[in-house]
């Protein structure tokens, strides 16, 4: 499927649950609402024309104003790739786990929980992961996080 075919197919199938983003450069990038996340994920996984079986990556982003979460999805059988994005406020940031759909999301979500402080609903193992067990200095990937010994690179002109 080409970019256009995929975009048309997805927008027809999900209607206003998806919103195509301009920022996506090479693969379709869709903004979705977080209450639709698990539903859409299950749908794209089971859809005969999509069969999105492979979760490439989940990454959280702190834009300085909001949290974004990006799901990079791929289909091995159909050779398709597109991305989904969620946007949410800092306050009470929470997202459903998609590990029922793709088990490998477990670690990505755990990492997100630890480094960004985004709560994951229905996750079976939210424990310390990359950081030391006794870590108490907050969520280091946040833009406003500064550790006492954290040196920023000098600005280049």
């Amino acid at each position: 499927m080409t970019f256009e075919e995929l975009t048309t197919y997805l927008t027809e199938k999900f209607g206003d649950k998806l919103e195509l983003l301009e920022t996506g450069k090479f693969e379709p990038f869709f903004l979705i609402k977080k209450e639709n996340l698990v539903e859409i994920c299950e749908a794209v996984k089971t859809d005969d024309k999509l069969l999105i079986d492979f979760l490439c990556n989940i990454g959280a982003i702190d834009t300085g104003e909001k949290f974004e979460i990006v799901y990079n999805l791929a289909s091995i059988k159909k050779n398709i790739r597109f991305d989904l994005k969620l946007v949410m406020e800092y306050e009470g940031a929470e997202v459903d786990s998609v590990q029922e759909v793709w088990p490998c999301s477990n670690w990505y979500e755990r990492e997100m929980w630890e480094l960004y402080g985004i709560n994951i609903k229905n996750h079976d193992n939210l424990t310390r992961f990359l950081l030391p067990d006794e870590w108490d200095q907050g969520h280091p990937m946040l833009k406003n996080w500064d550790a006492p010994d954290f040196k920023r690179m000098p600005e280049v002109e």
Binding site: T23, D53, N57, I76, N79, P103, C104, W107, L130, M141
Partner: protein
């Protein structure tokens, strides 16, 4: 009768400093005698927060950081980041530089598989193969050294091209290497492939079904060993891979032995690609591309680029706001991350010796997991 008998489970801490965890990975193994009941990987010992570091650097400064992401195949790490930024900014890479990139990446893949071959044999108790494979890896590293001055973290593939042209002695050296590599791989195979002890240690051990492999995001050679013919070089071609003819080896059992066979075959295929690339290398124009400046700002946008690394799909997600010199977010994805995640499922009920064999065959390397 057996009801009266009860064996006590005990916990063994495998790692973080353990000879065969390929970096500093720790497994908390709950064992019943020699049999694993549960395994819980504990990671983070190599966490250097590369993603956060990248957020505080300009795009060009991120390339050396990417080197450290997966130091066995630094060329591929450079490439995946450069590819993503080139997509974002719409930079065209000259053909000559693309060929150099492919040659370097494929040589690097061979070198990485040689590390894997040596450590696999080492983990199974055979020490000699390790030194054989490192002998040939040395030749590859010499070639890299004469090209970019580095032996491990190359910083060679840059945004917009490659850092410098290959020296004149590179091509004869590379041709000499390619002339003997098949014979050397035959040597490797003679040491392990048909060895009965190696076979009983690997056949039927750590069987990964295709469904489970996909569900856990296992990619690369480990996925192909489970019978799924999926290689990003063919299925989602990046750079100029669609110009080369090469086979994608596939096996069907998904056990450690198949993962071994796949990687051995892949070394030969990579050599094939390098041979073709050297033949097709355009001699007329030597254009290694124009490097980006420090104040380079790609347009607003986000991209997830992925390439086929020796350990599976390596991806990097970059978001650029368009008005700063620094990426807003760089998220790295390495193949080992998912392969380590599937380990607890694979090692249930096997012996402690198999844990080592399975981990070696999945070719897990810790810097890629911890970042």
């Amino acid at each position: 009768m057996t009801e009266g008998l009860r064996t006590e489970e005990f916990q063994v801490n495998m790692g973080p400093h353990h000879p065969s965890t390929h970096g500093v990975c720790r497994f908390i193994l709950t064992m019943d005698g020699e049999v694993i009941v549960r395994a819980e990987p504990v990671i983070g010992y190599l966490h250097r927060s590369l993603e956060k570091i990248c957020e505080n650097r300009t795009y060009a400064q991120c390339i050396p950081v990417m080197d450290r992401f997966e130091y066995c195949t630094s060329m591929c790490c450079n490439e995946v980041f450069a590819l993503a930024v080139e997509k974002l900014a719409g930079i065209e890479v000259p053909e000559y530089a693309e060929y150099l990139r492919v040659i370097m990446m494929e040589l690097n893949r061979i070198a990485s598989h040689m590390i894997w071959y040596g450590t696999t044999a080492l983990d199974l108790g055979a020490i000699t193969p390790f030194l054989y494979s490192f002998r040939e890896r040395e030749d590859i590293l010499d070639m890299f050294e004469m090209t970019c001055g580095q032996r491990l973290t190359y910083n060679y593939i840059r945004i917009g091209g490659v850092s410098k042209d290959i020296p004149p002695e590179f091509i004869p050296k590379c041709k000499e290497f390619l002339a003997t590599i098949d014979h050397k791989i035959d040597d490797y195979e003679r040491m392990l492939t048909e060895n009965p002890i190696f076979m009983v240690r690997n056949k039927g051990v750590g069987t990964l079904s295709p469904e489970m492999a996909i569900a856990y995001g296992v990619s690369g050679p480990s996925l192909r060993a489970s019978g799924i013919k999926y290689d990003l070089r063919r299925d989602d071609p990046y750079s100029i891979y669609n110009r080369f003819k090469f086979d994608i080896p596939v096996c069907h059992n998904g056990d450690c032995y198949d993962r071994y066979i796949i990687r051995i075959k892949e070394m030969r295929e990579s050599a094939k690609i390098v041979r073709q690339a050297l033949e097709q290398l355009p001699n007329a124009e030597v254009n290694t591309g124009k490097m980006v400046k420090a104040n380079f700002k790609p347009a607003k946008g986000e991209v997830y680029s992925r390439i086929e690394n020796s350990r599976g799909e390596m991806g990097v997600y970059i978001q650029s706001t368009g008005d700063t010199k620094k990426p807003l977010r760089v998220k790295m994805r390495g193949g080992s991350y998912n392969q380590l995640q599937v380990m607890p499922e694979l090692v249930k009920g096997v012996k402690i010796a198999d844990v080592v064999a399975i981990m070696a065959s999945l070719d897990i390397i810790m810097p890629e997991v911890d970042r």
